[in-house]
């Protein structure tokens, strides 16, 4: 079977436009709290979810909107939920980090790593209640150091669960470079539990689609769980208003805010380790520099990459349809929200 590039591109475009709409609502203060966007994860979400059918389950993390959009959750209740409306997907109780859609067997959690054991539970239930159905868990590489996640890898193998673990590797755990707090290699880690694991370029939807297809078929056939390590960028930082990105986006303001206390600390008494302090400052500087290089020089856009695989006229049509669909959903949600208020 060959990937249907048009459908995959449509899925990615819908995700991107939804995320952009969320960013806008959040900036305007209409959405409260944090906002973790999945801009950069479109190919992973679209490429994996394309293989799911009714009865399959999704256990999601704090970037849960893209897989839900790809899965076909109605956009109006989704946006109503984001603006905290009582007629939203979760009646205003969940918000973007805790989205639930029972009809799609899809849940999400803001507790890092929890999507793995919850997905194992969905997969376990499938063994009893719906043989042939599968569960997919999405999480980041930062979550791969959580005990519950590692325990789930073992559980899935021990119970031969129909589960696919999708690790979105964006190299950053909030403001920490994951490699600085991670031992060994995640692919080998997963394999050591006794399940097939493969690395895939998460910015290339056709590659994700192919790898995910194998993993989902393996699970459906009851052969074994699998692990997919998909590299992808984190284009909007950990969350909107990401403190590291802000240093680049509003350098003057941030320097004035962060600078003086840092200088005071550098000079503070007693002068323990005084000679080493510039070195410590350098460690912070290095983190910022690495982020800057990744962000402004090396960051691929999965949507642009997918666009190259679709004829121009088709892409323009899909873009327009997807954009209109999202705009309609946002206006409908805002209109209903207003009437209600």
């Amino acid at each position: 079977m060959k990937a249907d590039m048009e459908e995959l591109y449509r899925s990615m475009a819908r995700i991107r436009f939804c995320e952009e709409a969320l960013a806008n609502l959040w900036q305007r203060g209409i959405i409260s709290g944090e906002m973790h966007l999945g801009v950069g994860e479109e190919a992973v979400a679209a490429g994996v979810v394309a293989h799911l059918e009714d009865g399959d389950a999704l256990a999601l993390d704090h970037r849960s909107t893209p897989p839900l959009v790809a899965r076909g959750v109605d956009l109006v209740p989704l946006f109503l939920e984001m603006i905290g409306d009582e007629r939203g997907l979760c009646r205003g109780w969940g918000g973007h980090m805790h989205l639930f859609s029972r009809e799609h067997l899809a849940c999400s959690s803001g507790i890092v790593g929890s999507s793995a054991p919850l997905g194992a539970g969905f997969a376990l239930a499938a063994q009893y209640l719906a043989p042939g159905k599968v569960a997919v868990s999405f999480f980041g590489e930062g979550a791969a150091n959580q005990g519950m996640l590692l325990e789930s890898l073992n559980l899935a193998v021990a119970w031969r669960l129909p589960q696919v673990f999708v690790c979105k590797d964006n190299r950053w755990a909030i403001t920490t470079r994951s490699r600085s707090v991670t031992g060994g290699d995640l692919l080998r880690r997963a394999r050591s539990f006794g399940m097939p694991a493969c690395r895939v370029d998460g910015t290339r939807v056709e590659a994700v689609w192919e790898a995910a297809g194998k993993a989902v078929r393996r699970a459906r056939a009851g052969r074994s769980p699998s692990f997919l390590l998909a590299s992808c960028p984190r284009r909007e930082g950990h969350f909107l208003g990401d403190p590291l990105l802000r240093v680049y986006r509003e350098p003057l303001k941030q320097t004035l805010e962060i600078g003086p206390p840092l200088v005071r600390s550098l000079l503070s008494r007693p002068l323990q380790a005084f000679a080493l302090r510039p070195l410590y400052m350098g460690i912070i500087g290095k983190t910022l520099t690495v982020l800057g290089i990744e962000k402004f020089l090396l960051e691929p856009d999965p949507l642009c990459r997918a666009a190259r695989l679709v004829p121009d006229d088709v892409r323009r049509r899909i873009d327009q349809e997807a954009r209109e669909e999202v705009e309609r959903a946002v206006s409908a949600a805002m209109e209903r929200g207003k009437r209600h208020a």
Partner: protein, 339 residues
């Protein structure tokens, strides 16, 4: 005395303790950035970055404390402590008892808590009741910068485990990271006296378990902690306009409780209203009722607490968290002898 923000006061005290005692180290997720002012001063050996592995690094904190360090372990938000429950419930809380009093755990667990910025019920809990239920663990909850510094010093000086909770509405950087995030289009009900104030230099310790009498009054006692204290003060003002004199007590720690001060106040006023942002059932408010009952005090009693999961929607959230309207109404009912 210099003025500081609540957040500055905490790190000021922590920095003083670290300068004074080489054994004080701090670790947790993202601390290089979150504690950057301490990081550039003390370096990565003393301010250590941890992977997202709460179960491992909190239990490692327990072990390190047993072996002679005085760790201040950061569990970013207290909600995430659930991931590391064993470290507290079965390890930290038991060492002194199981060793027959011969071994102790000088551990501080620092976490942000509390709601009021629309982040949903997995990031806004308080959990001080749940944590206080564990034997052998103290839970400090400052409501202003001076107490924030003083309680942090006492927590580090304590030879037994202390959970130190900083309320996000008082800590400007948490509110900015999780609520504001650089946009000027949202606002929060931040109590000014809590978010900024004078701090002694050098900071002076505040004993854990000593409550503070915030306002004196003879008609009604309001017991609270954290942001709730400021809500009580505001409610007391509007009650005063109706001729009701409220006594406001800042408990400053959920455990141990200053039973002396609370029983004295309850005995004086005969009416007690507990304002607790934590869950209503099986928690601090029930504990206070038991303390009063056991002391033989016959007082009218009511409570304003969070009654269930905290909703994401700001509008719904405002109703669930103790607010001034709910406190005032409950106080009036109590004073009028209505249930």
């Amino acid at each position: 005395m210099p003025k500081m923000t609540f957040a500055q006061a905490i790190d000021y005290a922590l920095g003083e303790a670290m300068a004074r005692d080489e054994r004080v180290v701090t670790f947790g997720e993202d601390v290089t950035m979150l504690r950057r002012n301490l990081f550039v001063r003390f370096g990565p050996r003393r301010v250590r970055q941890a992977p997202i592995s709460e179960a491992a690094f909190l239990a490692a904190g327990v072990g390190a404390a047993m072996a002679g360090l005085r760790p201040v372990v950061e569990i970013m938000l207290v909600d995430f402590i659930a991931v590391a429950f064993d470290a507290l419930l079965n390890e930290a809380s038991k060492v002194r008892a199981f060793s027959g009093g011969g071994w102790n755990v000088p551990l501080v667990v620092r976490a942000a808590c509390g709601g009021g910025y629309g982040d949903g019920g997995q990031h806004e809990q308080c959990l001080w009741g749940l944590l206080s239920a564990m034997p052998g663990i103290s839970v400090a909850v400052p409501s202003n910068p001076a107490d924030a510094a003083g309680l942090m010093l006492s927590a580090i000086d304590s030879d037994d485990p202390v959970v130190y909770l900083e309320h996000k509405l008082l800590s400007d950087y948490w509110l900015d990271y999780l609520g504001g995030g650089s946009r000027g289009t949202v606002s929060f009900d931040v109590p000014r006296e809590g978010a900024e104030g004078e701090v002694a230099c050098p900071p002076s310790p505040v004993p854990i378990g000593k409550a503070r009498l915030v306002a004196e009054g003879g008609d009604l006692s309001l017991f609270s902690l954290g942001v709730g204290v400021h809500r009580c003060v505001e409610a007391a003002r509007s009650l005063a306009e109706r001729g009701i004199a409220s006594e406001v007590i800042d408990l400053r720690s959920a455990c141990p409780l200053d039973t002396e001060l609370v029983t004295a106040s309850a005995r004086k006023t005969g009416r007690v209203l507990v304002v607790d942002e934590d869950y209503i059932a099986y928690g601090l408010s029930g504990e206070l009722a038991a303390v009063l009952a056991e002391a033989g005090i016959k007082a009218d009693f009511a409570r304003v607490c969070s009654e269930g999961a905290i909703p994401f929607s700001r509008k719904l959230e405002d109703e669930v968290l103790p607010n001034v309207r709910r406190i005032t109404e409950a106080a009036l009912r109590l004073c009028e002898g209505r249930p």
